[in-house]
Amino acid sequence: MVMTLDEATRRATARQDLCSQVKQLLVDRLSLDVDPQAIGDDQPLFGRGLELDSIDTLELAMAVEDTFGVTVTDDDTQSLLSLNRLVDHIEGARA
């Protein structure tokens, strides 16, 4: 079903709020020299993009578990392909 402008706005506000929290968490826990608001929603986390490494991944997984109570395991590596994918994973696990 296509959303009305109201529905689209309401949903986007909640989603953007969660994205902002995750961006802030990334910057804080991984001590990145990046303005969290400058991280794009579809920005890749590895390789191109934030250029995290596998050691950062473990830290990121722990941060997500501490903050959102959501675990990230080896079965969830698809969730680490972009910030949006990670937020999907958190949203999905909390729903």
Partner: protein
């Protein structure tokens, strides 16, 4: 007498000789004296007696011997290797100890290491390590060291998983 109650050091779950079957480390880099509690794959506790005859103290520092902080971190890393080595031994042989030293993982990260108090010759250091989340071949390890009731060091490490046989 100092007036403090005398208590015997905790009983060994693994002796130094048994630790040596789990770890590839040898003198002068074999650091743990005794494992006093062990849950393979999950957590462990170890003792280390710091002694003035340790060659490292001759250089760290002349006239002011104290145990190097980085070696306290290394003790936690070796304790982590005991946690995972004993799990591997148990799953392949059913015993806590087997010759698995050649499969030891590597230290991948030291994060948030804090040294609260210096450690001197004569101190008996108790190390505790606990295995945390694992992802992508890495495991996080929480570690701490204490002398008596005082915490002397805390650190979080990441280590690589053991090579599969």
């Amino acid at each position: 007498m100092t007036g403090q109650p005398l208590s015997a050091p905790a009983r060994a779950v693994l002796t130094a000789d048994e630790i040596a079957r789990l770890l590839p480390h040898r003198h002068p880099f074999f650091l743990l004296d005794r494992i006093t509690a062990l849950e393979p794959g999950a957590s462990a506790e170890a003792l280390k007696n710091v002694t003035a005859s340790d060659g490292v103290l001759a250089g760290h520092f002349p006239g002011r011997m104290l145990y190097p902080g980085v070696l306290l971190v290394e003790c936690v890393a070796q304790l982590a290797a005991v946690i995972y080595g004993s799990a591997a031994a148990q799953s392949s042989t059913g015993d806590l100890v087997a010759d698995v030293a050649d499969r030891v993982g590597y230290l991948a990260e030291i994060r948030q290491a804090k040294f609260m108090k210096p450690v001197f010759p004569g101190d008996q250091v108790v190390f505790r390590a606990q295995s945390g989340p694992r992802l992508g071949g890495l495991i996080s390890v929480n570690g701490q060291a204490s002398v008596g009731r005082e915490l002397v060091m805390t650190a979080r490490l990441a280590v690589t998983e053991l090579d599969q046989p």
